[in-house]
């Protein structure tokens, strides 16, 4: 069936950020220079073309925007200066919004008022919760676990994780449906199993990022940031009673140095991200969407307030510690609620999944090639 051309697609995509393909004459130098593009995924030209021509369904079915790590080589090479790299960035926002069935993501990406309003609302809600339900404030010494009983907070963690996972996973389901089932021929289960390792491997290492462009420092920084983030996530979501203690452990205690390591990389690399976005020296930082700013800003604020809690506790300033803790939660929770299923955080899920699905597709294609021609070959594929 021929695809119906949708002339509104390009203007819709433009609501998600910079998308200047107007001067593009599809010369192909972007895909030729890209270190990650290959026969089975010739981006960014194909993705740009989907939007330029108005091929909505093929765009939704494509994984390519997630496979790009935005080194900026394409934008530097483009003879018409159309910024394909930034366009891929915009497409990732667009796809995030397309996967989200609630429509919240689309609203927040398209409107700063919505995005900031949502963050403020969740923050206010959080402040209200703390004001209403916080424990007694011991003032002669710092007793954080009395102010915020660790098991209550831990329960809240789990509840929030469950809700956010629901939204995120339902969006992931839509991503799978769009990319792996609708329209194209489905891949056999065998392929999914054979390539499963790549999901874990890519998720843990972001190794494809390393192949992107010539600057491997970008990957290293990002990798360290992810280790800090992951470590903090594990310590808080899984082991909060062990992590949030009133007793100050000696420095060699893993709670201390693991916490310091995670905090340090989070602080340093989020600050670095923001600093480079402000300087705009590199090609990839020439354009910055609100969402590009918000996630690192919130992450940095969360980290800084976390550091403040720690310092105040050390200094033995009870009131300052409790307030800092409250602020820490008022920043951290909205960040997670908004960014995890509806915003930039979601790339933590979509990117490794896309790399995995791409591997599955290639695996399936190899199988198709190797399968003997004829009806048997076709039937051999499970639905």
């Amino acid at each position: 069936m021929p695809e119906k051309i949708d002339p509104t697609l390009i203007s819709e995509v433009r609501k998600y950020g910079h998308f200047d393909v107007d001067a593009c004459y599809a010369c192909g130098s972007c895909a030729a220079v890209c270190a990650l593009s290959k026969d089975s995924a010739l981006f960014p030209r194909k993705s740009m073309r989907h939007v330029q021509v108005g091929l909505r369904e093929p765009l939704l079915a494509s994984l390519d925007p997630w496979l790009c790590y935005y080194c900026g080589d394409c934008s530097k090479t483009c003879p018409r200066q159309t910024e394909p790299g930034e366009s891929m960035m915009t497409l990732r926002r667009f796809l995030t919004a397309q996967y989200d069935w609630t429509g919240l993501s689309a609203r927040m990406y398209q409107s700063p008022a919505w995005e900031l309003g949502a963050l403020a609302a969740v923050g206010a809600f959080m402040a209200l919760l703390i004001a209403l339900f916080h424990g007694p404030m011991v003032m002669d010494r710092v007793e954080l676990n009395t102010f915020a009983p660790v098991m209550t907070v831990h329960f809240f963690d789990w509840a929030m994780a469950a809700v956010l996972s629901f939204f995120l996973l339902s969006n992931v389901a839509r991503m799978i449906w769009n990319t792996m089932f609708r329209g194209g021929s489905a891949a056999p289960l065998q392929s999914y199993i054979e390539e499963a390792w790549s999901l874990a491997w890519n998720g843990a290492t972001q190794i494809r990022f390393r192949e992107c462009g010539k600057n491997t420092a970008r990957w290293a920084k990002h990798f360290l940031l992810v280790t800090g983030y992951g470590l903090m996530f594990v310590m808080i979501v899984l082991f909060l009673p062990w992590f949030q203690t009133d007793a100050i452990h000696p420095i060699w205690h893993p709670q201390r140095w693991l916490g310091y390591y995670a905090t340090a990389v989070l602080a340093v690399f989020t600050a670095e991200i923001l600093w480079s976005r402000m300087k705009k020296e590199e090609q990839i930082h020439r354009y910055s969407d609100l969402s590009d700013w918000l996630f690192p800003i919130l992450l940095l604020l969360t980290t800084l307030t976390g550091i403040a809690v720690h310092i105040f506790r050390y200094a033995g300033w009870p009131l300052a510690t409790y307030y800092a803790y409250a602020v820490h939660l008022i920043v951290c929770v909205p960040m997670l609620v908004i960014e995890v299923p509806f915003g930039k955080w979601a790339h933590l899920t979509y990117r490794p999944l896309a790399a995995y699905f791409q591997a599955v597709r290639e695996n399936a294609a190899r199988r198709r090639e190797q399968a003997p021609a004829g009806p048997q070959g076709a039937e051999a594929q499970p639905a």
Partner: protein, 1055 residues
């Protein structure tokens, strides 16, 4: 009549013009001016004229040798009495007003006396800097470095005193003061010692001349993009990445590797060559197309395969293949057939493989795969940039430059500038190829002739010669002059021996050697000897008659001898050059050549040039934009014009044009103004509703019978301009004529103009009826027209959805920026393949277009309110009949075929008939106007003369031998021979052929066909040629053996 250009205040009109720029455009203009009676100053900033064309190996699409086609022009200009060449010249100041300018020109010193220098090249051989070797890598380079040879793009080196290239005009050395040892150290002077003509003048100073001219033509050409600005392609970093012009030199037999195709790093023969298109064109900084690169890359690929082997891999990386002009698409198809590979991708970078110095290119294949391929040589198709002097010239003359830095002009006056009396032509106004440049140059000449009608001929002097001595019945007295050409001949050929030998040849009464036969002192000597020794035949044994025969003939005339009593032996090209290492054999051959020349000279007879009167009226066939423009120009120049139009109305196909791509000007207004001016001119006779019944006669003397509503009419005229135009093809495909929503571009344009186009979604389909089997040519106009109408649709309704389905977007030149603008306004361009054309379907009255998007390889469908077909431009069927009347050819597509695709784009092989507008090929209004002007200028070069001088060496029928067998009639390529029947005195019907001397070129085909010696070419009679042949077969007499026996000699023998 009122000249269209404002008259100068004092009314003075100077019959001279200044042409700035000695490239092919400037050269064409100089020749046209001189032919029309205007004195020319040809000012070139470099040391010689010729421009970039002189560097080209061959030219597309005919693969003609560039130098071979332009060298005769170089020579013609160099010896034209009415053309003054000023080299190393910079225009500094212009004062005065149109018709009466004073232009100050600075002449930089050449350090060589042009009057004395004979171009022998001895100085260049003597210069020590010519022998320098390039320092090896790593070697310290304190020694002077060899000087890169500009002509060979630095691929070879040259001395500090040099002649830029062998055919350079002026054929005179120049000292490169920057490098010359004497200039920097005060020593050396080896060249001065080597120069036998005493021509090196180290103390020459800069000079200023003030030229009085009526008008100026500025044609400084262009410069090539410096690919160092795109470091990703590695030019200047990787040795085997070269520019297209460097490759042109490598291909050339006169190039750095003598025509052997080698790559620079190791001089190895490349097996795989990549061409990268659009280097310095069509990018963000330079939003225009350089218009020539697609074709020159195709040509270079073809020539490389020709030079090396058919197995040579040539791959052209391109975006849109812009084969938009006459014969181009056919040429491109031929290249594909011959194995040149075309890959539609712009490679991002060129990487070098350090071990092999091969080059690696990553690109996308046509079937959407990523490929990495290694090549031995990468040629960058560099774009055209404005001339380096563009800024200065703009300031000096008060010209406006456009945002790209080229000279700004307007569509309806493409050679005019904002400054009256100053005109422009060539790549100075827009990147363009040779024929377009030549057309504009001639077109600019027409504009200037319109400005100076009464000044024509005022500064042209007729040369006076003494009365000719009657040599009839005299015993031949041959004088032989053997030239040393400095050392050019004498270093190989033993000149004194040749002289001694010549002295002993029959009828030779005088023989001597001269250092330079062509130098002024030798000319005087020859003249004196003719008189003193009563010579009645002269043989000069020197270089080629192609360049020097006219000079010597002139000396004969000045000495009172008929110019045709002269014969030349070319002992330079044929002896000293080709047998450089065999001096003895070369000397023997020189003697043979002299003997042949003397043998023929003995049989030479005086010949007279005939003159035929020229009728000053001109016939213009076709009353469209081109015909009207040509008619107006010629009328403005003072000639009477008969304008014939088959329709009842004037205007032709341009009547349908409502907008220009560039916007602004209104085509209909221009056309209306033009028509009313043509109608109001007393010296233009408009014949509408008229057709041509017959055309008879020849250049200067045509008689045409017209059929009009009021009966037949006869016109006498001296020249014809064919401007029959072309029309839009009526498509049969894509539901055209079946669904009212399917239109052609011109129909859409009309609707847009009336404001009656309310479509939300419009799909345009390009190449409808073009570039297919039936019409293999590109209709050239349609891409620009689609962009124009798409932009108009977007201007009327920015929300309209416009899709253009194309094969290659051929928005050449500045049209490219409108293509960019269309994309920026949201027009979507989608390519389709010839073998997968879009499909237009209709259901319930709704139109839909199905196509395959080739990049995402997705079949897609569009619902369209309008489907607009970019239909082919086709020649009128009546062309055939007119071509027969005029005895001129049509090309395979039915357009008129010009005399030469590069250098004679408005001429026909038949003299006195010229061509312009869409009768030649589809073209824009701007291009038609330029070519109409060019046709007018070319016609003026005929009409300017009271009489036509015919060459004396033409065919002549020997009545008593001709029996009317007519064998010679068909083979004559110029249709100059016709068969006559007449009643002899005894009443019998007799047949005989007749030669039309105005059409005859003296080629000799008739003489060769005739079995009865019934037709001969004067000056090349069979007996004369036989004498030469016999002479060459004679055993050469050694000095010891007795003289060759005297042969009986008689003038007229054998006739």
């Amino acid at each position: 009549m009122t000249p269209m250009n404002p008259p100068s205040k004092n009314g003075r009109k100077v019959g001279a013009a200044l042409v700035v720029g000695g490239g092919i455009g400037g050269m064409q203009a100089a020749l046209d001016f001189a032919a029309a009676g205007i004195k020319v100053f040809l000012a070139e900033s470099g040391p010689c004229i010729g421009g970039v064309m002189a560097q080209l190996d061959k030219t597309f699409p005919t693969n003609d040798c560039a130098m071979c086609t332009m060298a005769p022009r170089l020579v013609e200009i160099s010896r034209h009495k009415d053309i003054d060449i000023l080299t190393l010249a910079d225009v500094e100041k212009i004062e005065g007003e149109p018709g009466d300018f004073k232009v100050t020109v600075k002449l930089r010193p050449r350090y060589v006396d042009e009057e004395k220098c004979t171009g022998c090249g001895a100085c260049a051989i003597a210069c020590p800097l010519g022998k320098l070797k390039a320092p090896k890598e790593g070697e310290s380079s304190k020694k002077p470095k060899p000087i890169p040879d500009e002509y060979n793009q630095g691929l070879s080196t040259r001395p500090a005193v040099y002649i830029p290239y062998p055919q350079a005009i002026p054929n005179c050395a120049v000292v490169d003061a920057e490098h010359c040892l004497h200039m920097s150290t005060g020593k050396c002077k080896l060249c001065q010692k080597a120069c036998k003509a005493d021509a090196i003048v180290f103390d020459q100073k800069e000079e200023r001349v003030v030229l009085e001219v009526g008008a100026v033509l500025v044609a400084p050409g262009y410069e090539l993009f410096d690919p160092r600005l795109k470091p990703e392609y590695g030019y200047g970093i990787h040795k085997n990445v070269i520019t297209s012009i460097e490759f042109e030199r490598i291909l050339s037999a006169s190039g750095p590797f003598l025509g052997k195709v080698q790559r620079p790093s190791d001089k190895a023969e490349p097996k795989r060559i990549a061409f990268i298109q659009c280097v310095g064109s069509r990018d963000h900084e330079r939003d225009y197309c350089s218009a020539v690169c697609c074709m020159y890359a195709t040509k270079e690929a073809l020539l490389a395969k020709e030079h090396l082997s058919e197995h040579l891999e040539c791959e052209v990386f391109f975006m849109d293949l812009r084969a938009f002009s006459k014969g181009f698409d056919e040429y491109y198809q031929r290249a594909k057939k011959l194995g040149v590979k075309y890959t539609r991708c712009r490679p991002a970078a060129v990487e070098e493989v350090p071990e092999t110095k091969n080059l690696r290119i990553t690109y996308l294949t046509e079937d959407e795969r990523k490929a990495v391929k290694e090549f031995d040589l990468v040629v960058l198709s560099v774009g055209l940039r404005p001339a380096p002097s563009a800024q200065t010239l703009a300031q000096t003359f008060g010209l406006k430059l456009n945002p790209h830095g080229f000279c700004a002009t307007e569509a309806f006056a493409p050679m005019d500038t904002g400054k009256p009396g100053v005109f422009v032509a060539g790549a100075f106004t827009e990147p363009k190829d040779i024929p377009e440049t030549v057309i504009q140059a001639s077109g600019a000449v027409a504009r200037i002739l319109e400005l100076l009608p009464e000044a024509k001929g005022t500064l042209i002097e007729e040369k006076q010669y003494p009365p000719e001595t009657d040599v009839a019945g005299q015993e031949p007295r041959v004088g032989v002059f053997v030239c040393h050409c400095g050392t050019n001949i004498a270093s190989v050929v033993d000149v004194p021996k040749v002289v001694e030998y010549a002295k002993r040849l029959p009828n030779v009464v005088h023989a001597e050697n001269v250092v330079y036969a062509c130098a002024n002192d030798s000319q005087e000597k020859i003249k004196k000897t003719i008189v003193e020794k009563k010579l009645n035949r002269v043989v000069v044994s020197a270089c080629t008659p192609r360049t020097h025969e006219p000079l010597f003939r002139n000396s004969l005339q000045e000495a009172g001898l008929n110019a045709y009593l002269f014969e030349m032996a070319n002992i330079r090209d044929q002896c000293s050059w080709v047998h450089m290492h065999e001096p003895e054999q070369a000397t023997i051959k020189a003697k043979d050549l002299v003997r042949m020349a003397v043998s023929k000279a003995r049989l030479l007879e005086p010949l007279k040039k005939k003159h035929v009167p020229v009728h000053k009226d001109v016939l213009v066939v076709g009353g469209g934009l081109s015909g009207l423009t040509a008619a107006r120009s010629l009328a403005g120049q003072g000639f009477t014009v008969h304008l014939v139009e088959k329709e009842a109305e004037l205007g032709g196909a341009s009547r349908l044009l409502r907008y220009l791509l560039e916007g602004g000007l209104d085509p209909q207004r221009h056309l209306d103004d033009l028509i009313s001016e043509v109608r109001s001119r007393l010296n233009i006779h408009v014949h509408t509703g008229a057709s041509i019944a017959s055309i008879a006669g020849f250049i200067g003397n045509f008689t045409t019978k017209l059929k009009t509503a009021s009966g037949e009419e006869e016109i006498r005229h001296g020249a014809v301009i064919v401007a029959t135009g072309a029309q839009e093809h009526r498509p049969e495909e894509y539901l055209y004529g079946k669904n009212p929503g399917v239109l052609t571009q011109r129909e859409l344009e009309e609707r847009l103009a009336q404001g009656s186009c309310k479509a939300k979604t419009v799909v345009m389909i390009q190449c409808v009826g073009s570039r297919d089997e039936k019409r293999p040519y590109c209709s050239r106009l349609c891409c620009g027209m689609a962009v124009k109408n798409a932009l108009k649709l977007k201007a009327l309704d920015p929300a309209a959805n416009v899709y253009v389905l194309y094969r290659d977007v051929r928005t050449y030149g500045f049209r490219e920026s409108f293509y960019t603008e269309a994309r920026q306004k949201g027009v979507v361009f989608i390519r389709y393949d010839e073998d997968r054309k879009p499909e237009v379907a209709e259901s319930d009255g709704k139109l839909s277009v199905r196509f395959v998007e080739p990049i995402v390889r997705q079949e897609a469908v569009l619902e369209a309110d309008l489907v607009v077909l970019s239909a082919a431009t086709v020649p009128p069927l009546e062309n055939k009949e007119l071509a027969q009347h005029l005895k001129v050819p049509l090309d395979q597509n039915g357009f008129f075929l010009e005399a030469h695709m590069k250098l004679r784009p408005v001429d026909f092989a038949t003299d006195g008939v010229f061509l312009c507008g869409m009768a030649h090929y589809p073209k824009t209004m701007e291009e038609s106007i330029a070519q109409a002007g060019a046709a007018a200028a070319r016609a003026a070069s005929v009409l300017a003369n009271e009489t036509m001088e015919l060459e004396a060496t033409l065919s002549e029928v020997v009545d008593e031998n001709c029996d009317g067998c007519a064998y010679c009639v068909e083979p004559c390529p110029y249709k100059a021979v016709t068969l006559l029947e007449y009643k002899a005195s005894d009443g019998a019907i007799k047949k005989i052929v007749e030669v039309n001397e105005s059409a005859c070129k003296g080629c000799g085909v008739c003489q060769a066909t005739c079995p009865k010696k019934g037709i001969v070419v004067r000056g090349f009679r069979l007996d004369q040629i036989a004498a030469q042949s016999e002479a060459v077969l004679q055993e050469q007499a050694s000095p010891e053996t007795p003289e060759p026996a005297q042969q009986p000699v008689g003038a007229g023998e054998g006739v």
